[in-house]
Amino acid sequence: MKRIIIISLAFFMSLLLAGNTFGQEKNKFFHVIVRAGYNVGGTAPLGVPATIRSIDSFKLTPSVMGGIDFQLTPGRWGILAGVHYENKAMDTEVTTKGYRMELVKGDSRMEGLFTGHVKQEVTQWMLTIPVMLTCRLGNRVTWKVGPYISILTDKDFSGIASDGYLRQGDPTGPRINMGDKEGEWATYDFSDEMEDRQYGVAMGFDWRVTRHLGIMTDVNWGLTGVFDSDFKTVEQTLYPIYATVGLYLAF
């Protein structure tokens, strides 16, 4: 599904570039903007908790974005709305000290404070609908700001706690060592606890380089946590905060 979208976007863009038969861009009232970009960022608490001692690795993920926007520009100010299909993923490894975590599987449950290595994977494929106010700053640059709503189509929040130990319950609880291979480490999966919708605000710039082609950059700041509010295992509220960098075609 996502591959098809990316390929068709690329095809569409090359077609536009090749054709290049569109009329005068400037002062046009209605624009269709096709975008393709890459999301970089994290699903993280605002402020790293003191129980995270170091960030050991932060890997690139298939966090691509493709979408189409419709822009109305009666004057300097305008309005934009569209549909984006994107992934806000994260693949990171951290070292923790006394980080609260819970392992739940079926009828079994294990909860406590983990000191050691955590490998965290987040995948959030979503349909995002932005509604933005636009403002033309000179000939080439447009500033955009506005809210968005995302509907998640595929979600994963899982990880591995290894090379350390869990103190069950609290710091005086029984200690259980965790090793560095399957069966010795603990895995967790909170995918089902994730919200199906996310809300946030986005702000960014479109910078037109040629008549049709431009460079875009947005910051998408999630205002709601990624988990259901009654889910308490992950102590901090995690917000999806991602920047998009990409290209667009406007016509």
Binding site: Y38, V40, G41, G42, A44, G47, V48, P49, A50, T51, I52, R53, S54, I55, F58, K59, L60, K97, G98, L103, K105, G106, D107, S108, R109, M110, L113, Y165, R167, Q168, G169, D170, P171, T172, G173, P174, R175, I176, N177, M178, G179, E182, G183, E184, W185, A186, T187, A243, V245
Partner: protein, 385 residues
């Protein structure tokens, strides 16, 4: 790609720059304990007993084994290594009177939020009896789960926690469970008075996740080291405690009923196999050639080169009636000199599934054990004289 990498790098730098200062330690464990000074060496059998290393984090007591409580000085200092930053009360290395029983030490964490209490005691090695009726048990609570721990009592009323089981591991993945829900518990329906019930259980979804799908009921002389239960499950069972006499025979009573479906460690059914109970005893040297402590674990309890003698019940046929079992120690002669310097350990092991340590067995296998008695060479000669 380069742009993406630099963006990722920038993000990591941003995050890393917000790493907060490390919080003070919240743990408050005694890691090791020792008695210093040659003037105290005489109260121990050997110098290695003056130092207790790698004290398990689930331990609530710290016990030094001494020759005789009568020869103990009125007061002596015990030194502790505790979690960094934590404090201990009474003071580390202060002289305390251990002759009246255990002294309670309180360890407070560096952040001041958490406390743990330890009973530090000096105990004589020998039990008043080697006839185990399993009348004494304590109910322990662990996060809403309850389980039984068996102990023995000597003439002075001192408790000796010589028995261990995997209960503390089994309850890790349970919620709101009762003692009778655990793999090992005290039953009022013993051969005489109370007895032990051992049963093989499904270890629940998390147990399956960790590749440890069943929990066999077990009871053994030694320690259960909970820390190791995931990383090296066979090292969770530390078998043996020092003994000053040579065992000859073990007798007792049992009932056994194997579970219906035998499964391997991946929970695959093996129709050709029927579960078996196991009862055995091992007598082994507890020091290596360099004088370091030796313990037997799940991986070598029946095969270690340190084993001097072992006794195994050849077969325990299923029975619903209390049935007597008897087993004799076979192997090499014990060395009198090693014996007098406390160089031997003994363990006695009961399990509802023979291969339970490798997570093979049948859920629902139940073994009852009661009135177990060990007889000794030394005692027999004493009786004769």
């Amino acid at each position: 790609m380069k742009i993406r990498y630099s963006f990722a790098l920038l993000f990591v730098l941003l995050l890393t720059s917000c790493i907060k200062d490390e919080l003070p330690n919240a743990e408050c464990d005694i890691l090791s304990a020792w008695v210093e000074g040659d003037q105290y060496a005489d109260i121990f059998y050997n110098k290695s007993q003056m130092r207790l290393e790698n004290i398990s984090a689930s331990e609530k007591e710290v016990v030094f084994t001494v020759r005789s409580l009568i020869s103990m000085p009125k007061k002596l200092p015990v030194h502790f290594e505790i979690t960094p930053g934590a404090t201990i009360e009474p003071a580390n290395g202060s002289e305390q009177d251990f002759t009246k029983g255990p002294v309670t030490y309180t360890v407070t964490s560096e952040d001041g939020e958490w406390k743990r209490q330890y009973a530090v005691a000096f105990k004589e090695l020998n039990l008043p009896t080697y006839k185990f009726s399993f009348e004494n048990y304590e109910t322990v609570e662990l996060y809403g789960n309850y389980y039984h721990e068996f102990y023995e009592v000597d003439q002075s009323g001192t408790h000796h926690n010589i028995w261990a089981s995997g209960n503390s591991g089994a309850v890790l993945v349970k919620t709101d469970s009762k003692p009778e829900d655990q793999p090992t518990y005290s039953t009022p329906n013993g051969y005489a008075g109370r007895g032990v019930c051992l049963n093989t259980q499904d270890a629940g979804s998390l147990g399956h996740l960790f590749g440890k799908p069943i929990a066999a009921g077990n009871l053994f002389m030694g320690k259960f080291i909970l820390e190791n239960v995931l990383v090296d499950a066979l090292k969770a069972t530390e078998f043996g405690r020092p003994i000053d006499r040579v065992p000859v025979r073990v007798t007792g009573y049992y009932k056994y009923h194997p579970g219906a479906v035998f499964t391997d460690k991946d929970m695959h059914e093996i129709p050709s196999r029927t579960d078996e109970a196991s009862i055995y005893a091992v007598f082994y040297r507890n020091k290596d050639s360099e004088g370091k402590d030796v313990y037997l674990y799940g991986n070598d309890v029946l095969s270690s080169p340190y084993i001097v003698k072992k006794a195994q019940v050849a077969s325990l046929p299923p029975t619903d009636e209390w049935t007597r079992f008897e087993m004799f120690f076979e192997g090499d002669e014990a060395d009198t000199q090693i014996l007098t310097s406390q160089g031997y350990n003994m363990t006695l092991v009961f399990s509802s599934s023979k291969e339970g340590a490798s997570f093979e067995g049948a859920v629902g296998s139940v073994l009852y054990v009661d009135e177990v008695e060990v007889s000794f060479e030394e005692l027999e000669t004493t009786d004769a004289s």
